[in-house]
């Protein structure tokens, strides 16, 4: 059911874009919606981040899995249990760039039916790495349609990505790896019973969106050729704030663009907000130095404290009378 | 017990499989087309070189120059990078397997024009991993597809005649141009990293012309008939006629490649 809802939504988005393109609603689907989507994306993300950073983090709560820095002769594990900001930064970098925690994915098995053993399960990590890194390269590659002249790093990336001259136009390596990654991530949700059980429509929807964007992109490049110059004209005009919609752009492009717009606008309100959230995870971005540094509760207000000295001062005569020990004897008059 | 039998089986299977280590590629090579013979090609273009007539340097130069201009062949001064489709070598080097101690020096020092032999059973075609070079069935020319070549140079190791040249660098700066900086021919230049060689002027044959070298030597006084080009499968062609009437030789025939450039005189 969740799958069908998500699939239906993604197909519907694509169909709407196609229909919009076919019906000549180029202004709506080529200018207004992408522009709004970008604003919603940036604005929504900014609000989200503001909300997160405004929430106090009273305690250091990094989750650690290595030796903490303590005595000199005990070797600390700096990345698993960071002690300083720099070390926490290193840990974050490994998490953001290498998805390190996914490498801890293990699979439990009974060996010969009597002993429990674990094995590394690399599938999720590999699928995620393929999908995310390919997506980044693909996004940067798309700058060729949004800049004129095209910056050198885009040209270089494009040349490296299309290094293998397979087909004409050449198939990009990241096209293949991206589709493979997304397909794996989807297949995993379908075939793994545990993952399937916890998957909601909101888990499937972005994957279907990504798959739809990828497939329509492949279609436009390799099969149903589209007028790439007209598309670039549209994109450039958008980024120059003087939108103009050229004639003759294929409806598939509007489907592709609408899918991308929906994904963009959907990000701040969905699980994909992890792209910002990962930086703000208190279990990951803090140094575990509670024993070395005093952290004061940020919203600490002055508590009225009645110390023992004051207590004794107030009741000393009564205490002496009752024969209780006092720290400071009564002054003799 | 059961375990032992499985091990026994493994042992036998392994030993048997060990023998397969060499068998697979061998079988494949055996199944591969054994080149084309003349009967397999509908026609076979061939060339007859008259050694007497090409002793005139003007004739040789005309042939080489025509070739270079027709195919935009670069002139790279470094002999180790030079591209050559048709070149001049001495008799003793070209026919190394046919010389003997009693031959007079002037015989050994005679100049010979050498080019691709468009072999009947070309080793270069056999080894090419991408079919970038192949024997054309329609007329027996050993063709080269510059779009397909990966530049592995296996064909150069396989050619027993040294007829192939590799583009070690971009050839364009070394190609002859006219006063306006334009190339002398529309024949595509090559890019660095591909192998090239004589194509018997396949592009001219298509237009019903003779190879450029054959046409050029005819213009030189005394050069007529120095190079004769024709169809070897046609008994009435001039090459067939000459080879029937005159003693001829070809390069390294014992290798079984079946060269189709012949030498008389």
């Amino acid at each position: 059911m969740n799958v069908l809802v998500a699939l239906g939504a993604a197909v519907g988005v694509f169909a709407a874009g196609m229909a919009g393109g076919a019906l000549g609603l180029g202004w709506l689907f080529g200018v207004v919606i992408p522009g709004l989507a970008l604003l919603v994306f940036l604005g929504g993300l900014a609000v989200k981040v503001w909300d997160w950073v405004s929430t106090p983090v009273p305690f250091r709560i990094p989750t650690t899995c290595g030796q903490q820095t303590s005595l000199d002769w005990i070797k600390p594990n700096k990345l698993e249990n960071p002690h300083t900001g720099i070390q926490a930064l290193g840990r974050m970098a490994l998490e953001v760039l290498c998805f390190r925690s996914l490498l801890r994915n293990t699979k439990a098995e009974m060996v010969q039916g009597r002993r429990l053993a674990y094995r590394t399960s690399l599938g999720l990590w590999l699928g995620a790495m393929l999908m995310h890194w390919s997506l980044l390269v693909i996004l940067i590659r798309h700058l060729r349609l949004m800049t004129n002249p095209v910056p050198a790093f885009v040209s270089f990336l494009e040349a490296a990505d299309g290094f293998l001259e397979i087909g004409l136009p050449a198939v990009f390596v990241t096209t293949v790896t991206f589709l493979a990654g997304v397909t794996y991530l989807l297949a995993r949700r379908f075939t793994n019973p545990q993952v399937r059980y916890i998957s909601l429509a909101g888990d499937y929807f972005p994957l279907f969106l990504l798959l739809g964007i990828g497939l329509s992109g492949v279609w436009m490049r390799h099969f149903g050729k589209v007028d790439i110059a007209a598309i670039k004209e549209l994109m450039l005009s958008l980024f120059h704030f003087s939108p103009a919609v050229p004639e003759g752009i294929s409806p598939v492009f509007y489907g592709h663009l609408f899918l991308a717009s929906v994904l963009l606008a959907y990000i701040p309100f969905s699980k994909i907000a992890h792209m910002a959230g990962i930086f703000l995870s208190p279990t990951r971005n803090l140094a575990n130095n509670n024993r070395a540094v005093r952290h004061v509760n940020p919203w600490d207000y002055p508590v009225k404290v009645h110390t023992y000295e004051e207590y004794e001062e107030e009741l000393r005569d009564k205490m002496v009378a009752a024969g209780l020990p006092v720290e400071k004897p009564l002054e003799k008059e | 017990m059961e375990k032992k039998t499985r091990r026994e089986f493994l042992k036998e299977a392994g030993t048997a499989a060990l023998g397969l280590g060499w068998a697979l590629p061998l079988a494949a090579a055996g199944c591969a087309p054994r080149g084309h013979n003349i009967a397999g090609s509908q026609r076979q273009w061939a060339m007859v070189v008259d050694l007497e007539k090409i002793q005139d340097p003007a004739v040789r130069e005309a042939a080489q120059k025509a070739c270079a201009r027709t195919h935009n062949i670069p002139h790279i001064p470094d002999p180790q990078e030079e591209i050559q489709w048709i070149r001049v070598e001495s008799f003793e080097h070209v026919f190394e397997d046919q010389i003997h101690g009693a031959m007079p020096p002037h015989e050994l020092e005679r100049s010979v024009l050498v080019l691709c032999n468009h072999c009947t059973n070309p080793p270069c075609v056999r080894v090419c991993p991408t079919q970038a070079t192949w024997k054309r069935e329609s007329d027996g020319i050993v063709m080269m597809d510059m779009h397909r070549c990966i530049g592995c140079r296996y064909c150069m190791a396989a050619c027993p005649y040294g007829s192939r040249s590799f583009n070690w660098r971009d050839p364009r700066p070394f190609i002859e141009t006219d006063a306006e900086g334009k190339f002398l021919s529309d024949f595509p230049t090559r890019t660095r990293g591909v192998v090239e060689k004589c194509n018997f002027c396949a592009e001219r044959l298509r237009d019903g012309l003779e190879p450029a070298c054959v046409e050029a030597v005819r213009e030189v006084p005394g050069g007529e008939g120095a190079l004769v080009f024709g169809d070897l499968t046609d008994p009435h062609s001039e090459v067939s006629h000459i080879l029937r009437e005159t003693p001829s030789r070809a390069r390294r025939v014992t290798l079984g490649t079946g060269p189709n450039v012949f030498y008389i005189g």
Partner: protein
């Protein structure tokens, strides 16, 4: 399991850094070769293959030699090699990767490399070499990962891996055989066109590969708590001795055939190698050095007392590796082009760019090898009861 590759001390990271430096150097040099063309190499119209293809030939042997530990262990249940097998497979993986890279950097049009698979050509030995190498890489990765993971969990390996292991044995033989066929099927080059080339390749491979394995095992013994076993090392030394002896015999057979028949095209290459031909004698010192090294090493290996001396053994192994590297990595490929089809002799020496690219490929191979062995060592060290 993979994270075990990144658990190491300063010395380990320095080693990785060194390999990384070589890779960077090689990448830079290859970038120049890619933009300017192969003119930056020492190769020429006459000597069209040089140090790249020669290293490829040498390393195919190293890759194939894994069979020398896999076969006794799996087919003959020779338990002594139990801890050595994974080292052999790791070495095979690194060596095959280097082989593929050496072919790749030798190409004039590297961007078209996919053409070999897009237009498969069964009559070309180069096509088969690509298939054989690719298949061997997959086989070793699969076998190594599956069996080692099973070992780590102290579980028996899955049953389906057995036939794959059996398949890997002839496959190992085939990669070096096909590489020999690459050369020996060329009627144009008398030096290579000899039926004994494939057996010769295998004999020298089974000497150089296990020698490298012994060296690596000794290094691991010295610097880690993981010990592949003294008996295993001694057995490998015996294999090296036999293989090297057979190799000498094969070379002798070649020399006899060429020199006794005295056919010019068959004697020229040997004269070029050992005496110099028409004043071209750049390889002569190499070859005599290699020959002397071979004789010394084989003599000392044949004597049980010196062979079993674990202090002397690393030097003997290094000697064997160097001797075979000279035979295959220096002599074999270049000499095939001497003399050229027109009887001329062109000398070849690699340029700085070529050497840098070669070092880069080796750096990459040893980087992979270091990572793989680190995983093995870290996992094994944890399994040893303290």
């Amino acid at each position: 399991m993979l994270e075990a590759a990144f658990r190491g001390g300063g010395r380990y990271w320095a080693l990785l850094g060194f390999w990384g430096l070589l890779v960077a150097l090689g990448l830079g040099a290859w970038g120049r070769q890619f933009t300017e063309g192969l003119t930056v190499t020492g190769m020429s119209q006459d000597v069209t293959w040089g140090i790249y293809i020669a290293q490829f030939t040498f390393l195919v042997g190293v890759a194939a030699s894994a069979v020398m530990v896999v076969l006794p262990y799996y087919l003959h249940n020779y338990k002594v090699f139990g801890r050595m097998v994974i080292l052999g497979e790791g070495l095979a993986i690194a060596a095959v990767l280097m082989c593929m890279l050496f072919i790749f950097v030798d190409m004039g049009q590297p961007t078209r490399v996919a053409n070999v698979l897009l237009h498969p050509t069964p009559n070309s030995m180069m096509f088969w070499d690509m298939v054989a190498l690719g298949g061997y890489l997959v086989l070793n990765l699969l076998i190594g990962a599956v069996t080692f993971d099973a070992e780590r969990r102290e579980a028996p390996p899955p049953h389906w891996i057995k036939p794959i292991i059996v398949l890997s044995i002839p496959w190992a033989v085939s990669i070096h055989t096909v590489t020999a066929f690459l050369y020996s099927g060329l009627e144009a080059r008398a030096f290579w066109m000899t039926a004994i080339l494939a057996p010769r390749f295998l004999a020298s491979a089974f000497a150089s590969g296990p020698s490298l394995l012994i060296l690596l095992a000794l290094i691991l013994r010295r610097f880690t708590r993981f010990d592949p076993g003294e008996e295993a090392i001694r057995k490998l030394a015996l294999i090296v001795t036999y293989a090297m002896t057979v190799n000498i015999f094969f070379v002798g057979v070649e020399l006899f055939t060429a020199l006794y028949s005295d056919m010019p095209h068959h004697t020229y290459p040997f004269r070029y190698l050992y005496l110099g031909l028409h004043g071209h004698d750049s390889l002569v010192p190499w070859m005599w050095f290699g020959a002397a090294l071979t004789v010394v090493c084989v003599t000392l290996l044949l004597v049980p007392r010196t062979r079993n001396d674990l202090r002397l053994l690393p030097f003997l192994c290094a000697g064997v590796i160097l001797a075979i590297w000279i035979e295959k990595g220096v002599g074999l490929v270049i000499t095939g082009f001497v003399p050229n089809p027109l009887g001329r002799i062109t000398d070849y020496a690699p340029t700085g760019v070529e050497v840098a690219v070669t070092l880069g490929v080796y750096g990459f191979g040893f980087l992979v090898l270091s990572l793989l062995y680190k995983i093995v060592v870290n996992v094994r060290e944890r399994m040893i009861p303290a």
